[in-house]
Amino acid sequence: MANLAVVTSVAGSSSSSRTSQPALEARGVTKRFPGVVANDAVDFDLARGEVHTLLGENGAGKSTLASVLCGLYRPEEGQVLRNGAEIRLNSPRDGLAHGIAMVHQHFRLVDRFTVAENVVLGHKSLSFVLATNDIEDRVAAITQEFGLPLNPRAVVGDLSAGERQRVEIVKALYQGAEVLLLDEPTALLAPPEVENLFVTVRAMTHTGKSVVFVSHKLGEVVDISDRITVMRGGKVTGSVRRGEADVRKLAELMVGREINIVPRRAKSPMSDVLLSVSQVHLERDGAEILSDINLDVRAGEIVGVAGVAGNGQRDLAEVIAGLQTPQQGNVTVCGTPTARSGALGARRAGLAYVPEDRLGTGLAPAMSIVDNMVLTRERGFLVDRKSALAESEQFIRQLEIKTPGPLTPTRKLSGGNAQKVLLARELFAVSGARVLVVCSPTRGLDVGAVEAVHALLDEARDAGKAILMVSEDLDEVMTLADRVMVLYRGKITLEQPGTHADLERVGRAMAGIAS
């Protein structure tokens, strides 16, 4: 049912005008969602063979614009032009017909299929019996041309995040994409994989393909982009060319004011060790996940664990929280050994835990703020919602949580407000919790919410809590931690004081390079 409702308003646009016209252009695009204007009269253009980055905070509207450009969303106002001719896109399939493809942040692949099968999935001109060999040959040809090392016969479920992304890119190229929209392509990649991706992007632009690179990571986009357009609050706030890009200026365009990251450190002297992990060793399915982990966290201290995703951070947090039992080693919370007493045992010993996945792990998404407040406390035969209601109302006032009321389901809250609910419960509501394990506390939050969360953690530290913060965001670790550790392949490979950490060494340790 891919009716192409294509309107050619510019009569006689011929191939002669192709070179001068932008490959893809948005004019005055406006897209509204209930309660927000995600794109407000946005102009954007992409030349042939260009890498044009859309930079902005979460919620700035860059993914929305990319979705409009690929046909996923239809704008309320404005036009999309391809080689100077207006096109109307009713679906991503229409976009593909015009050679426009988007690689989403969350991959849309079938785990059980091979690379080749995933590449042709949804392709319209497939024979009844798949010509597997032909397809695999063509896939192999594409992977070679664009420097995307992949085995067409590998099963997608066995691939790493970086490899899956390559499958998505190969899929787009196989379908004849000339314009590729990459939505946060580096979010799940380790630094070497990011390098690989950049090689591929350059290979694509060499053959005349154009790339829109959507990102909120300032540092990396400067290298790859020919142009950078910054968005904020649904509007374009500025655009710079390669060579003019200045990280400070871009940052200001992103957040709309001068950013002034003040490191927050412990103000009062630290006292007793409240959390102690010694010689912890964790295996799963025969693979070593954590090995010989030793760490202490004192009252009034934040210890930051940095590392690239997938190096055992989550498992470390879960071991401490009692959700996984290590094969060897001990965890002590406020003097009580807890490694083998489960989640409830760890909590009773005084542990609070804020997992990375807020909605869906830390909070029950369809349940109200009040119901979520009682999640980690001791409950009798009947649930005491009366005191939880009072508590919720108090937190909503104190932490300025934006919500219609305490009975609102948490999934309707923004990321920042959901995190405030979760932090409030774990920091203040859990009676007697003196140790806090917190994972990626500001992932996906906007600048204002990041500051609020950091202030909360800082306040808790001043109040004498022992905090272990696991985060993939190195800036965050460097801003808050009194001590910095690097976790690489399940081992702590580096420990430095937060106040004078050698950033270069930390970065190298995260990439697994021994210094």
């Binding site: 049912m1 209930p34 009692g322 959700l323 792990t361 029950a364 009682v374 999640l375 980690t376 649930v383």
Partner: protein, 372 residues
């Protein structure tokens, strides 16, 4: 989707307006009646007149409503059983088998234990044994689900057939404990008189088919409603149903939650079977096989959107269609019972179809003319 030049789009609703919660079931029933009416007209029966007769036979006449309440009694139980499990995303469809086992377990207690007991004790004992037998019938699927993650849909469904054959064997295939020894006619051995309740006459001298167990079923639904709302157990099951990861994070025991919910669901269906024993049957009665109250319970739960109080209403509504349909069959202008079954099926289909409108907003717009 494009239909006749119009684009029909579905968009997920952010929130459901309250009015829709009422409108959807009302329209489901309405459209089901329209579909049934087409069948009636096609078979040469006046739709409106037949419906009026059906309503009278099922709901408004004295014997109609009392028959309906009697039939609704075990149906409330199986409806509660289905709703209880489905709320936890456990799709047990074993209510039919658990109902039979409840009848068998209840009858066993009624024959073996009730003789020397006063009615006030004997009836609860029969009901408890029915509940226990129903729970035991789902124990293996519950264990498999909680320990190995085996789909409860398949295991509970298969056990329905086992229960059916077990019931047939007790009455038709053997001359054992449950078979009436006083006659060669294959029928169940009657339970002790003390384990029977007499029908409610509703302040008349008529003999009805409504038994006091109807009120027990209603009280059960209300108690369940409040208990699941206020208790820690209700809270934990709600968290688990919403997000198993959150339940794990909070240290809840998911194996216990899954298996206990299935066991309680089995017990609820089992009580329904035992109510049949203390009420109209008084023995193991294979007549229960014909009624399909276990599967109907799933329909009732779906209509009630898994709300325990609404189960009462849905069960009475559903039972009325059945008794009304039965009465039509033997009226002067007999209408096939199949019409009543078509109606039931149509109600369910439209109710489930209505979910689509509850969750999604449908927008219809003209497709822009191509290439002008």
């Amino acid at each position: 989707m494009i239909v006749l030049g119009y684009r029909v789009r579905m968009e997920q609703r952010l929130s459901t307006p309250r009015s829709l919660l009422v409108m959807v079931p009302v329209f489901s029933v309405f459209f089901a009646l329209v579909v049934g009416g087409i069948f009636l007209a096609a078979t040469g029966h006046p739709p409106i007149g037949t419906y009026l007769k059906l309503v009278d036979n099922g709901y408004t006449s004295f014997y109609g409503i009392t028959d309906t309440l009697g039939l609704a009694t075990p149906l409330i139980c199986t409806g509660l059983a289905a709703a209880f499990a489905f709320r936890m995303n456990l799709y047990s469809i074993g209510q039919e088998g658990q109902l039979y086992l409840g009848m068998i377990g209840g009858a066993w207690a009624g024959i073996a234990l009730a003789d020397s007991l006063p009615t006030l004790v004997a009836v609860p004992v029969v009901l408890l044994f029915g509940a226990f037998a129903g729970a035991m019938w789902v124990a293996v699927p519950a264990l498999l689900r909680a320990r190995l993650g085996t789909s409860e849909i398949v295991s509970t469904l298969l056990l329905n057939y086992v229960a059916l054959n077990l019931l047939n064997y007790f009455i038709f295939g053997s001359t054992g404990f449950f078979r009436d020894p006083t006659t060669s006619f294959p029928q169940g051995r009657p339970v002790a008189e003390s384990a029977r309740l007499s029908p409610i006459s509703f302040f008349t001298d008529k003999v009805t088919n409504t038994y006091p167990t109807f009120f027990i079923a209603v009280i059960l639904a209300v108690v369940l409603f409040w208990l699941m709302r206020l208790s820690n157990y209700g809270y934990e099951t709600a968290v688990y149903a919403d997000s198993p990861n959150t339940a794990r994070y909070a240290g809840m025991n998911s194996a216990w939650l899954q298996s206990s919910v299935l066991l309680i669901s089995g017990a609820l269906a089992g009580v329904g079977g035992a109510m049949y024993v203390v009420g109209p049957a008084g023995k193991v009665d294979p007549g229960l096989l014909q009624v399909g109250l276990g599967y109907a319970g799933i329909v009732v739960a779906a209509l009630a959107r898994y709300n325990f109080i609404a189960v009462i209403v849905a069960a009475v509504l559903f039972a009325g269609l059945r008794t009304g349909g039965n009465a039509l069959q033997i009226s002067s202008d007999p209408v096939p019972i199949a019409i009543a079954v078509v109606l039931q099926g149509a109600v369910l289909l439209f109710a489930l179809g209505g979910e689509l409108f509850r969750r999604n907003k449908v927008t219809i717009s003209r497709v822009q003319a191509a290439a002008t």
